[in-house]
Symmetry: C2
Subunit: 331 residues, 2 copies
DNA sequence: ACTGTTATTGCAACCGATCTCAGCAACCGA
DNA sequence: TCGGTTGCTGAGATCGGTTGCAATAACAGT
């Protein structure tokens, strides 16, 4: 196909380049007859505007970086999925950026996103977000963060209510008859992980039962270590709350290796609501985060901020998702 | 920061725009003194070239679309992970494109990739790749496919040896003492899935045992249905080969719900070697595909083709990864 | 009929590079 | 000393659009 530029469309439609441009990007500025004619001609030629040329001139592209620590983690994968959808509904393209938790890489992505005129970016942090770094890149490109940010700053965020989630888990377990409930901490040093832990500590205390933190590590092996710790206890808790589904999986897996059954011997509840959990053995009871909503909202927030400069902090409600990894405590 | 264009660097270095350009993209064409001076000045200013402008002019960008059916599937997630790495080692940015198996979307991405001058794209198919569609977009943009393609065409591919993988699984199971081995088919109608199934059928026959296909469906519930089928049999096989890890998970989960234990009651082996499998309950024995290699190779193949026009078909060797979901048959 | 909007469209500069062509200096052998 | 490379750099067109400004057309009101 002969290179299709705006000029060939213009010629074909018998108008000037600029008119074609307007027909596409500022329809109201062109007489409707003309516009329709142009559009028809363009359609016939199979013409589309070059996003690159547009970006160069307008100094704002449709590339939006999605910065995640690890796309292999199903939570981020699910996030990515809903975000791509939300993105191309609005004509954006998602750039997949994985940092492996390396702040240097993150900064690298920031400068890259600047270079390609990204209108904004989405950051799903693995560690507490470096507000300073964000400020340093206050080049007009906005960022929305899927986590709480230190000091509720100028950066929009979307999170779920950690405390509420933990409360849901605790209530569920209490209702089942558990009184001794352990906790295994989450993957990373995010504020979210911190919040969940704090909530567990507080709410446990309030309900009168002593908190039992099986592991407070922040790496992928927290689950395994938590299970080990559990196995060493003379009087282990009858239920375990895992800070997220992945560690719940690890806990159950590690427990299983030692012959401890879930939920017969101990109940385990996760936090995330991953689709994967439904196919785990046993299917995982968990606190569901509305991940799909989070993706859409993140993008909406970013757009909103780009338009009216508003920065919002949305906090979503989690909900209890009962599957099969919890039951009454063993008698 | 004042907009940093090539001209400001040129001015600052006291040379012409074009010289700066050469200093960056064709170093040998510039006197080394001049070049170093320019580079130093640029460095000082914190200047980087605009990928957008470059792409527009050179008609070839650094955006490379990764087209997957579902990033939520850990196989694709792992692929995406290694590809992002391989990609930004070479200065590319990965565009995440998820199709949900919709051919229309795939085509959409093809035209988009054309529009932004992608030098090539990577397709991890959910269904048999539509060679016709590929040809239709023979606009000089190359594609490499992570699957076999009908008729070993002009498109480079990277796959693993399905037959060898199935053989490994079968051998492992035979060595353990199993003689009756069932099979649950894979997620999608790819050639790869087909090849695995065919290999199972053939190799089973060769070894004298009758093949038992528990489910040949191609959706996410194949595992569940396979398990149901298994439960209904009066004389079920003592081991099951799952076409991929995800269906293995589903099989084990479904079996578990009915009180069937793995590997005590039945052995299950997967195919993929997902990291997730290590944290499954029980840890999954599986045939490992060298996913990381696949990602790198895919990109290398694409680059190679772009340079010398060669189209290769790489087939990698799978390997047996013994964890805990297989054991000798129940006596 | 005349002047003052208002709606449309054309013109041309510009976004930030690349690349062909041409100019110029230094160098080489005869 | 002179024509013929060779090496390096500057000019300027170009990639595919956008946009402020000017020009023209159309329409009101008086």
């Amino acid at each position: 196909m002969p290179d299709l530029s705006i000029d060939v469309v213009a010629k074909a439609a018998g108008v000037h380049r600029s008119t074609v441009s307007r027909a596409f990007s500022r329809p109201e500025a062109v007489k409707s007859e003309t516009r329709e004619h142009i559009l028809r001609v363009a359609e016939g030629l199979g013409y589309t505007m070059s996003p690159l040329a547009q970006a160069l001139r307008k100094k704002t592209s449709t590339f939006i970086p999605l910065i995640v620590p690890d796309i292999t983690n199903p939570f981020f994968a699910e996030l990515a999925k809903t975000m791509t959808q939300a993105a191309d509904e609005r004509g954006y393209q998602l750039l997949l950026c994985v940092t492996n938790g390396d702040p240097a890489k993150t900064e690298g992505y920031f400068i890259a996103m600047q270079a390609m005129y990204a209108p904004f970016g989405i950051v799903a942090p693995s560690t507490k977000v470096d507000t300073a770094a964000l400020k340093r890149f206050d080049f007009g490109h906005k960022v929305v963060v899927i986590d709480r940010v230190e000091g509720d700053d100028a950066v929009p965020t979307v999170t779920v209510d950690s405390r509420r989630g933990i409360m849901l888990a605790l209530d569920h377990l209490h209702a089942l008859g558990h009184t001794s409930i352990g906790y295994v901490s989450g993957i990373a040093g995010t504020h979210t992980a911190q919040d969940r832990m704090d909530a567990y500590l507080e709410l446990s205390a309030e309900s009168g039962s002593a908190p039992v933190v099986l592991d407070s590590g922040s790496d992928l092996d927290a689950g395994t270590r938590g299970a080990e710790h559990f196995l060493e206890m003379e009087k282990p808790p009858t239920a375990i709350i895992a800070a997220n589904d992945m560690v719940a999986f690890a806990v159950i897996s590690a427990l299983g290796k030692s012959g401890v059954r879930v939920p017969e011997d101990v109940s385990v509840i996760g936090f995330d609501g991953l689709a994967l959990g439904a196919r785990f053995n046993p299917p995982l009871t968990t606190i569901r985060q509305p991940i799909a909503d989070m993706g859409h909202i993140a993008i909406e927030l970013a757009e909103k901020q780009n338009i009216d400069g508003s920065v919002d902090h949305i906090v979503l409600e989690p909900e209890l998702l009962v599957r099969a990894s919890t039951s009454g405590p063993r008698k």
